[in-house]
Symmetry: C2
Subunit: 541 residues, 2 copies
């Protein structure tokens, strides 16, 4: 029988403690909806006692109709030497009105004595009293034993006593926290086993990543009998972050045979990660396990060959199962097979030995040298390859553009762009203002081209990344611009590189527009206006 593991997501609480992460109340509501849809049973969403914004959130989240998730409010045991009902943080926890409360207390004597500056006995009373108080108010209490593993190493007897106090007061989960992320798998095994030997309450695990072990430690805890795994969805959290649930859920379910979410939800694990990254304004590293763009990207020539013979040779599970994609990267290291395969997708007559394969390899090397990088800009790559294959007909031509910006002591910067483009035998000149030169140029370009291609009105730029590629002294820096565009239905990325950010942006903008028109044309939905025959004078396919 499948073993069921409870997933507890703290993106909105521990995740919000990460450097650079700031959630609005609306952000939090959107993330709750997304996690609920994935079937996450517990969502820890804030600390109502310490943060007024969290309080507003708990008011508003009650309006959501959640399918399966229970909201969890997080807070600490009462302060020393007062009654629970006199502690305003405890009152705020009640007011948050969640069924479940995650209550943290100290399990490491060092913290009791040096941080709380109280006695070991009073700390045990604080734990007992506070758990008891919430249980008697009808709450389900998960007791977070902060620094449990450090405490257990230093004084196993006392660490276990703190858990016993929580268990006796009615806590329903004993959450063993590796708060500083300093434990290794063998330490986790020792701690989890000791608690299970001594106490009957089910164990949960909460790991931090300070020494890169959060995910492995969580897995080891499950192997030793933990029933619940806590983490943040894409791993961000205080300092080096928490165990990443978007890694753990597939690892537990697809490799260890546990059950966390439905198979259908598993197919949305990647989408959910990217959505949360977007809302949190967090750059998900391409190498992020399972959900990163590179997680199933094969670059070395031998790997590309092998994975095409047999996917399992270099993949733990098919990327589709978690909603990610396989990619065979085109680069110096990738070699001829990958390039030939990509070309054959556009023109089935191309093989490894076609002259165009070598030509493309040389041209890619040259462009990489000039700062281009197509690995993350597949739309630009496709346009480039079509050009090399002689299969690309441009949808417009640039005659010229000009950009002006000014700022004085008393006036803010104003940017404007003038542009003249040609489609077939007709020209269009126009101008636009914008927030910055690239924005002005983007608007002017679309404005000019919408005369001919009304579908461009639906597209918008959703991300704009700039990277200085070469920054060695005495040479001009090369700037690489990546632009992400959407038309509501799909998202594509284009690239430009140049010593000049405006020129680099221009190439990426032009590719972005060309790609949209190319896709619409392929799908037979391209509408052309402005007196130009469909297909355009310059398009002679």
């Amino acid at each position: 029988m499948e073993r069921r593991i409870e997933i507890f997501d703290s993106t909105l609480r521990d995740g919000a403690q990460a450097e650079g992460i700031h959630f609005s109340v609306d952000d939090k509501l959107n993330i709750v909806r997304k996690l609920d849809k994935l079937g996450i049973p517990y969502i820890e969403a804030g600390n109502p006692g310490s943060n007024p914004k969290d309080f507003e959130f708990f008011e508003r989240v009650r309006m959501l109709e959640l399918r399966s998730a229970q909201l969890v409010a997080f807070g600490s045991t009462r302060r020393k030497d007062i009654a629970v009902e006199d502690d305003k943080n405890c009152r705020a926890l009640i007011a948050a009105d969640t069924e479940v409360i995650a209550l943290f207390g100290k399990s490491w004597a060092l913290h009791v004595e040096n941080v709380l500056q109280t006695t070991r006995a009073e700390n045990l009373r604080m734990i007992y009293d506070t758990v008891d108080y919430f249980v008697s108010h009808g709450k389900t209490v998960f007791f977070d034993a902060e620094h449990f593993f450090d405490g257990f190493r230093a004084d196993p007897g006392y660490a276990l006593e703190t858990l016993r106090a929580a268990a006796q007061a009615g806590a329903q989960r004993l959450v063993l926290c590796d708060t500083n992320g300093g434990s290794f798998p063998a330490d986790i095994a020792d701690g989890v086993r000791a608690v299970r030997r001594e106490l009957d309450v089910p164990v949960a695990i909460h790991c931090h990543n300070d020494l890169g072990c959060a995910v492995a430690n969580s897995i080891e805890a499950v192997r030793c009998g933990a029933v619940q795994v806590q983490g943040t969805y894409i791993g961000f959290g205080e300092r080096c972050g928490n165990a990443s649930l978007s890694t753990l859920i597939p690892a537990l379910q697809l490799k260890m045979g546990c059950r966390c979410i439905t198979d259908e939800a598993m197919g949305r694990v990647t989408h959910t990660a990217r959505y949360i990254a977007e809302v949190a304004n967090y750059i998900l590293p391409a190498s992020t396990p399972v959900v990163g763009k590179s997680a199933f990207a094969h670059k070395a020539g031998m790997h590309v060959d092998a994975v095409q013979k047999l996917h399992a040779s270099f993949e733990n599970f098919p990327p589709e199962r978690v909603g990610n994609n396989r990619s065979l990267l085109i680069s110096e290291v990738a070699g001829r097979t990958a390039v030939a395969n990509r070309l054959a997708q556009l023109d089935p007559t191309v093989t490894r030995d076609s002259p165009v394969t070598q030509e493309v390899m040389d041209a890619l090397k040259e462009l990489e040298h000039r700062g281009y990088q197509f690995e993350s800009a597949q739309a630009s790559l496709e346009i480039f390859l079509l050009k090399k294959l002689g299969l690309f007909q441009p949808f417009f031509e640039l005659e010229n553009f000009r950009i002006i910006g000014e700022q004085s002591e008393s006036h803010r910067q104003i940017s404007s762009a003038m542009i003249k483009v040609r489609v077939g035998d007709r020209s269009e000149i126009t101008a636009a203002e914008g927030d910055g030169p690239v924005h002005a140029l983007d608007r002017a370009l679309r404005k000019a081209l919408e005369v001919f291609y009304p579908a461009l009105a639906q597209t918008r730029l959703i991300d704009f990344k700039v990277r200085v590629v070469e920054q060695r002294a005495a040479t001009a820096s090369i700037v690489r611009v990546l632009i992400e565009t959407t038309d509501g239905a799909s998202v594509w990325t284009t690239v430009g590189a140049s010593a000049d950010i405006i020129e680099a942006s221009w190439h990426a903008l032009a590719d972005s527009v060309e790609y949209k028109l190319l896709c619409d044309d392929r799908n037979g939905v391209l509408e052309v206006c402005g007196g130009i025959a469909a297909g355009g004078a310059q398009r002679q396919k």
Copy 2:
């Protein structure tokens, strides 16, 4: 007695297989020097058989005078059904002329049969023959058992036979590879123990991070008796990367009591990580264990309080031991203590209860709302706080600037900037061209100000990052610009945010210049020319 663990760095080989990583020969030589200085004993630097650039590298690396590192060339066992001396990759490995060769062969029957498409017996001969060939040529051979753990799970007998073939032919290390990163700590323990039971050759561990377990798996292998740990220095590598040595070295040495490098070198672990990231043009995530900017950053109010009482409360070791820094973050969550502490560094009379503390907290919240983020821009933060404390006198004032850029079908983009600044009672107007509008503006600003402050001639912009902060429909996007500047001796980061990239850049550029002048002024080395009295008319400290 301290247990010694050998470190084997594959940044230049496995690391180069990461998406987006491209090393020039010079890059590789620079990284070799840096790793040698750190005392890394083995540096795997390329695959001379598969890559002509690697061949040039091995020619040139012989000129370096290394203190302790041995270079390692990487390659595969001979192809099936030929003699070793007829295999051109094997000949290239000899020609690379390194003392040590890392030779990989297949330990997973699935790969033997489906990827190599040969027999199990021929695979064993390929391993034996090739190891034997290099040993008889006087080489030290480390045998990389590719997919060992997958192979061991599928067919433990055959996996061990492949190792036995290598051992019998004289391999000096049996490198157990979790090539697909699909193993968990308990699997690693099983495999390492079985090999140590069966064979006498010392064991090394080589882990990938596809399920986030590379570091923990390596640590578990060491616990079970591995003597050598392989990885890449900051963890990048094929797909989700390799075990990160900048995490593992401190974890093994400072937490597990093993010896990897000297204590003095340990103090350069962070610097080395950032250097390699810079050369590789890789963005080191702030949350990277040990060496990331956030690794010792405390944000939640309670953590900030505790870490000030007792560093060990939330840190596994003091950041100085690995050359990193503690930071107490200023944000909504950080609370009053962190803000008051930071202010007190600039003005010792400020306390938690000073009115300016509240004022600064409110102003920070407002600026964060407008897209500012000071966590990674401490130079701008300092200027902002000095302004709030009434302790900042500007070194110059902007009268105005104007930027013009143009491009036509036949001509590349040209950007130029005109600027007028005032220092004391004197104005300077000038202009400059640049690679892009920000570069032109930067050059014009420095050109105008160098008339008054010659030290600015030594400063240069080394990084320029742009992030779209808000990208919701129907509202203007906010752009945040981070600029990193150096004067050769130190590096500082400044920030600007605006709907307009030029305006945002302007604020970051202006702060960058002000910060340099402020530091020089504090250090008593600020030289002022152009007929302005030292201190300037507008500077009335």
